[in-house]
């Protein structure tokens, strides 16, 4: 290993400058303002167009191998790309699950025919993907899923219910985890199937969350027939297929979030000089100063942990359980941070519109951050992972 150097190498800097220049020229200028007002469907159409543009410039799926239309980017380049996207407040890519999780899984486990059929349309956002994993009775205990897939001729017939499906309403395809062997238990007898969302018997219901938005859906499958060639990987080995890419997701996710927190912190600091507290700017209140400083510390620690973990992963080539440490850290950090923001803004913190500061963004953040310690693996599950896989403590369940 070379000497410690937290600066970007000349190559990394060149890559960053290239990404930055492209984003500067291409990020839609009105994106920030459209966000609040637009209808969800219109917004999604807009995001699809944005991904097309990103794809045409060769930035979509940059981690994918070149032969499948990606850029074969190193982990560090992925981190830089994610950071620059966040720094430029670029719109998210419409097909994020396809790009981050399902595409890479197809690259790893797919047949040549499957790769040919699906990958290009994921990159171009011509086909949007969702992921059907969690069920009403299988959340943290994901291996307990019961959605049934039984063979009938050259089709699987699927029955069951999925929940917490992001982008379910917009998706053309679903990567579905099913139980193909009804006598099996837990991690065995699961099969990962690619389901056309236009198939008869698929129903999507919006799940309204406490913020009022509908980021997630419930999916219902009633006698849905799926051709046997849509099985990804081996029948009965769906658990391994599903888990293979989940760890990769956590590796770079933190890079973008950290930039977003930093930007929010800068804005909050700016506001602290304007907002009054006890007859003086909040920035002069000793208690607020302590809390702002602690938020700064937390965000900075998150950045540093991320850098160390990227270094480690770049060397080992495999994402480790440090992803769980990051997940625990950023989700709990954000809840503390949004509470600090609330305290600083005082009565204004609760306004969602009509005189609200920053169009009610802080009130929204406060509610939205509440989900952070639950989504993508609860803090409790992450601590179990750390306890067992990092510290070697015996499994508790």
């Amino acid at each position: 290993m070379t000497n410690m150097d937290l600066n970007l190498t000349p190559d990394e800097r060149q890559f960053r400058d290239e990404v930055r220049a492209w984003l500067q020229a291409n990020v839609p200028k009105d994106w920030e303002s459209r966000r609040a007002t637009e209808d969800m469907k219109d917004r999604f159409a807009f995001l699809r167009e944005w991904q097309k543009k990103v794809f045409q410039a060769g930035w979509a799926g940059i981690a994918w191998p070149k032969e499948f239309g990606g850029r074969g980017a190193s982990l560090m380049q992925q981190v830089i790309f994610t950071e620059e996207m966040a720094r430029a407040t670029a719109p998210p890519l419409a097909n994020v699950l396809g790009l981050m999780l399902i595409g890479p899984t197809i690259v790893n486990y797919g047949t040549d025919a499957q790769k040919k059929r699906y990958l290009a349309n994921i990159l171009s956002a011509d086909e949007i993907w969702c992921q059907g994993f969690s069920e009403p009775n299988a959340g943290s205990d994901l291996a307990g899923i019961r959605t049934d897939a039984h063979l009938d001729g050259d089709h699987y017939v699927v029955n069951g219910q999925k929940v917490w499906t992001s982008y379910g309403w917009a998706a053309d395809w679903c990567a579905l985890l099913t139980r193909s062997d009804p006598t099996s238990a837990k991690h065995h007898g699961l099969t990962y199937i690619l389901v056309d969302m236009k198939s008869p018997g698929v129903e999507v219901r919006a799940l309204r969350q406490m913020t009022g938005e509908t980021e997630f859906n419930e999916l219902f499958f009633r006698d849905v027939r799926v051709p046997i060639e849509n099985v990804l990987g081996k029948v009965g080995e769906g658990w391994g297929v599903a888990m293979g890419t989940l760890m990769h997701e956590r590796a770079t996710l933190g890079a973008g979030i950290q930039i977003t927190f930093k930007r929010q912190f800068d804005r909050l600091t700016e506001l602290s000089h304007i907002i009054e507290r006890n007859g003086r700017p909040a920035a002069e209140d000793p208690v607020i100063r302590q809390k702002l400083a602690q938020s700064y510390i937390d965000i900075e620690i998150m950045r540093l942990n991320q850098m160390r973990s990227v270094t480690r992963m770049s060397q080992s080539g495999v994402p480790g359980p440090e992803g769980s440490i990051q997940k625990i850290f950023w989700s709990e950090l954000n809840q503390r941070f949004q509470q600090v923001a609330s305290e600083l803004l005082g009565p204004y913190a609760q306004l969602t519109s009509g005189g609200a500061i920053d169009d009610g963004q802080w009130a929204y953040n406060y509610l939205r951050s509440r989900g952070n310690t639950i989504e993508a693996g609860t803090s409790e599950i992450q601590r179990n992972i750390v306890g067992h896989f990092v510290l070697g403590l015996p499994k508790s369940y």
Binding site: M4, E270, R289, R383, L393
Partner: protein
């Protein structure tokens, strides 16, 4: 971007660990805690033979001129072993102040003696006000007979009883000044002030018209303030690295206990309440490690964010070491509250380290000055 130790740095860290495992096991730590000064001259000599005394000191003064990252790697292992005695006081506190502000003659004399393992030293700064800001220094110094006379009292001075000389902050003509006072100076006396952490003894140093020669003045005015800030920054990074090593050891002790101690017919580490405490200990210690090495690197590169990085590391590690200690004791149950278990030795060190060079609250206010009071925000 490369955020990890190089092979050479890792080797240095490993050999440090091996040396301390052999020369300073917990039995030796316990023995030294019971002594007056927690100092052992044989151990000191061996440490000097390892080259540790000159780790930061340039070659022309007899050192090795290594960087802050190497220093942090060594200090992490010292903290892990709970190494007692005046290493940090001598090498980081006094050594950095002299290296930063000393004249050529002062550097040759004092840094050379430190590198050869011949001199132990410390820095006397705090007074009755117990405030870490240089402007609060009140101790009086005045020129007399071609030299200086110091009067007053210094508090919380680490390792003063074994120091061969003391870098002492005082006020001269209204300005901050640093003096190098030899232990032989008449009118200077050390009184032990026993504290929670027995591995690093604290003293009150009393100066009753202590006379020093002209050459004892190390720096005055802005130069003195800069030297002091530098010495504190270096020492703070070293201390945080020690704290990381302590946290790492506490985590290992607690996890080992959780794997072997059985209740209700199973290892207590199988219970999530215990697992989650251990997971938190890991998050705190790893996060502190990131902050410590980043601060070390930022200082060695003299980056603009170095000052903030040092405070981020100290604030975070101060809270974390204490909390890691709390969890380690809790995991041990009643055993954790006993004298025979080593955990309390770390718990005591955690408290002493939390306080030294400013606790979390003090460093958060410093961060607020650096990031909240930025001038670009004030002109709006």
């Amino acid at each position: 971007m490369q955020f990890g130790l190089s092979e050479t740095q890792q080797t240095l860290k490993n050999t440090t660990r091996q040396f301390l495992a052999a020369e300073c096991p917990s039995s030796e730590v316990r023995r030294l805690i019971e002594t007056d000064s927690a100092f052992d001259s044989a151990l000191w000599k061996k440490m000097a033979d390892q080259g540790w005394m000159g780790i930061l000191i340039p070659e022309e003064y007899g050192g090795f001129g290594m960087g802050m990252v190497e220093m942090a790697a060594v200090l992490e292992e010292m903290g892990r072993a709970l190494l007692p005695g005046p290493y940090l006081s001598t090498v980081l506190l006094a050594g950095s102040a002299i290296q930063h502000a000393g004249s050529e003659a002062q550097k040759q004399q004092y840094l050379g003696a430190i590198c050869r393992g011949e001199a132990k030293a410390t820095l006397a700064f705090l007074e009755e006000s117990a405030c870490w800001s240089p402007e609060r220094v009140r101790m009086h110094a005045y020129a007399h007979n071609g030299g200086y006379v110091l009067s007053g009292s210094k508090r919380f001075v680490p390792d003063a009883a074994v120091a061969d000389f003391v870098v002492c902050a005082a006020r001269l003509d209204g300005e901050l000044a640093l003096f190098i006072v030899p232990s032989s100076a008449s009118g200077m006396a050390a009184r032990p002030t026993p504290a929670l952490d027995g591995t690093r003894k604290l003293y009150e140093l009393m100066f009753d018209a202590a006379a020093v020669p002209e050459g004892a003045l190390l720096a005055k005015g802005d130069r003195a303030v800069a030297a002091l800030e530098h010495a504190f920054a270096v020492s703070t990074v070293g201390l945080v690295a020690e704290m990381v090593g302590g946290m790492q050891r506490l985590l290992e002790i607690a996890v080992e206990y959780a794997k072997t101690r059985k209740q209700f017919g199973r290892p207590i580490g199988q219970f999530q309440a215990v697992q989650h405490m251990c997971a938190d200990m890991l998050v705190w210690s790893e996060s502190s490690r990131s902050a410590a090495y980043f601060a070390a690197w930022a200082m060695s590169e003299n980056t603009p964010e170095a000052a903030t990085a040092v405070s981020v590391a100290k604030a975070y590690a101060s809270d974390s070491y204490r909390e890691v200690g709390n969890r380690a004791i809790q995991v041990h149950g009643g055993m954790g509250f006993t004298w025979e278990n080593d955990v309390h030795l770390y718990y005591r060190r955690a408290k002493g380290s939390e306080i030294a060079f400013g606790d979390a609250t003090w460093h958060r206010e410093r961060i607020a000055k650096l990031v909240v009071d930025r001038s670009d925000l004030l002109v709006r």
